[in-house]
Amino acid sequence: MSNSERPSKLFRNLNAKVASIPMVLTALVVFVGGTAWTVLYSFTNSKLLPRLNFVGLDQYHRLWSTSRWLVSIENLLIYGAISLVFSLVIGFLLAALLDQKIRFEDTFRTIFLYPFALSFIVTGLVWQWLLNPDFGVQRVVRDLGWTSFSFDPLYNSSIVIYGISIAALWQGTGLIMCLMLAGLRGIDEDIWKAARVDGIPTWKTYLFIVIPMMRPVFITTLVIIAAGIVKVYDLVVAQTSGGPGIASEVPAKYVYDYMFFAQNLGQGFAASTMMLLSVVIVIVPWAYLEFGGKKRG
């Protein structure tokens, strides 16, 4: 790129730019426009139908003094921590085990990935039955003779969110495993050979050489998991519908319930704006480090 070409930069690759106009418009109108509209109306007292009648921060005051919203946030944090840590750890361990040149690798890979083919609704229903004290795990163990055995996470307010996390992990770790496996296969054989020559134990090689080399894979995985955490909704609806009581409510469900069941759009918009804000708080510093840093470095 010399200086003389610079004025025509706008017209370079013109075809590609024209072709991307529809998507650019969609992004601007649907995503940015829709977001702006939602944020704007979150400052109004819109009920069933949107109305521009501003009430300042009232909706937000009410939101943060509602115990259901606070429970939802707490649940999201617990659920998020569990799915982040466990799906990464279990996914990586499974991938590392599969990478040991074992027999029937294809079969195992298929088995582990299979739950991912199910939707969250189906997953939720399956685990609702498995965790039901009258039909599921508890019943089976009791029938085997341990009559005092008790395992009913979905009916116990204090641990219900863990019951939901189990189902989410069962469904999601297969995909993480596959991503990790792809990452592991991308590591050059020579690195392993060199490590072996130097007499470094296998676990140390994984921890200090292979994992740092897999950084891009980890970042992709992290984005996929994080997106799944914030939007969790259908799993909860299928498994517990937020119960017992409000013990397993999540923010996305609060938004839906208040927009449509309670016919209070303003409140729903305020809640979804808060969800957006939390995503922005996580994404912006990360994007800054990831992309802003690279240019300078």
Binding site: K47, D134, Y155, G243, P244, G245, A247
Partner: protein, 412 residues
């Protein structure tokens, strides 16, 4: 020749279209009546409407009103309205009417003299907004019933209780016999509704109105309501072993004698009927929990969205008339377990429980219900509070009452 034949064939089909029963129009009707008893009742409405030469296209939406209403509303606001739709009359469709999306039925109402035939009058009042009538009430449903399983009490060796207080006293003995004293399903509206019933029964009609109609937050935080919360605390202790979600599953626990009782509206009666149970012998009903025999005039009504299609608009009129027809009223309400909206129909075939209800209605002991008094927003907040209260044994009564008073204070 060939052409002639074709033209004749076309002519025949066209002629058929016109010669068919007086403008047979398909009218889609959405509702959330999907349990056994409800489906049987709605089939009666469909039959009556089909008999007028039109065609009832059934648009049942499963999963109770909470799930169905958002779907209905988004269809109406989204420009794809159905021919008619169920709502609980009261404030659920208020904004749709104000936005001019619903059809004004005042003409038909005046012509057919609805004001004279519909009783109690408050039913039509809750269909009226700014002096115009927007809905056809089809039944009266009251929440204030306690359904008891005779079998469960026999098994525990107890006499049938006569009111809520006796029932609470029986709870330990029932539990000892391995019976869940009170069935409350996990859906939030059930806990919230049960509380309202307790308020009307334990607190009385005036208390109920002071809280929900006048929205007196100081009163809601006071000792009178503390008594109601004490009763709700009893109820949640009695209900702690119910592991079902849907209301009809909870009713089923009572039908099979696994649970002793359920606080549920008279729609539960349809379930007992479908299961082949006899009122008085297999199950007992206590209106107003045996403490305060009043009937709330909540219920179901049909609203008619404003349509451009003239044929459909005409069919809407036919449907509105069919719904209030004495014969339809009897057939529908017998199956549904609810009370008819007109006083001049013959209900000899009604069972014990319905007769109790009719007697209370005849005495004029009626009161409005929360659907008419509170907005959906307030209802939802109440549901959140009480579903938490019933599911969380360590939530104190005082804390719950404090939050309840806050909701009432900000209610609209």
């Amino acid at each position: 020749m060939r052409y002639k034949f074709l033209t004749a064939a076309f002519a025949a089909t066209v002629a058929l279209n016109f010669a068919g029963p007086a403008a047979a129009t398909d009218l889609e009707v959405t509702h959330w009546w999907t349990s056994g008893g409800e489906a049987a009742a709605v089939a009666e409405l469909a039959k009556a409407f089909d008999a007028t030469g039109n065609h009832w296209v059934d648009g049942a939406i499963a999963g109770s009103g909470g799930t169905a209403r958002p779907i209905m509303i988004s269809r109406i606001t989204g420009g794809d309205p159905m021919g008619a739709t169920q709502f609980n009359h009261g404030r659920q469709a208020e904004e749709l009417v104000q936005a001019g999306l619903m059809r004004d039925l005042t003409d038909i109402a005046t012509k057919d003299k609805w004001t004279e035939i519909v009783r109690p009058k408050s039913l039509l009042d809750s269909c009226t907004i700014d002096g115009k009538i927007y809905c056809v009430p089809v039944n009266i449903h009251s929440w204030q019933w306690l359904w008891l399983s005779n079998e469960a009490f026999q098994k525990a060796g107890l006499p049938m209780p006569k009111d809520w207080n006796e029932f609470v006293a029986d709870a330990p003995a029932l539990e000892k016999a391995g019976i869940i004293p009170l069935a409350v399903g996990g859906q939030p509206w059930q806990a919230s509704g049960a509380f309202d019933v307790l308020m009307a029964a334990v607190g009385g009609t005036d208390t109920f109105l002071k809280v929900y109609k006048d929205k007196d937050a100081t009163f809601a935080a006071g000792p009178e309501i503390a008594k109601v919360f004490k009763a709700a605390d009893d109820a949640r202790k009695m209900a702690k072993n119910t592991n079902v979600q849907d209301w009809n599953q909870a009713t089923n626990l009572v039908i099979t004698g696994k649970a002793a009782g359920q606080i549920m509206g008279d729609w539960a009666q349809g379930e007992f009927q479908v299961a082949g149970k006899t009122a008085g012998k297999d199950y007992t009903c206590l209106p107003g929990l045996g403490l305060n025999e009043v009937i709330a005039t909540g219920g179901d009504a049909f609203y008619f969205p404003l349509l451009k299609d003239e044929a459909k608009a005409k069919a809407q009129v036919v449907l509105a008339e069919t719904l209030l027809d004495p014969k339809t009223q009897v057939a529908f309400n017998l199956k549904k377990g609810s009370l008819p909206v007109r006083g001049d129909v013959d209900l000899n075939t009604a069972n014990d429980c319905m007769k109790k209800g009719l007697a209370i209605l005849a005495k004029g002991a009626v009161m409005p219900w929360t659907d008419q008094l509170l907005s959906q927003d307030t209802q939802k907040q109440k549901e959140d509070l009480f579903s938490e209260f019933f599911a969380k044994p360590d939530m104190s009564v005082e804390e719950a009452q404090k939050r309840f008073a806050e909701i009432i204070g900000s209610a609209d």
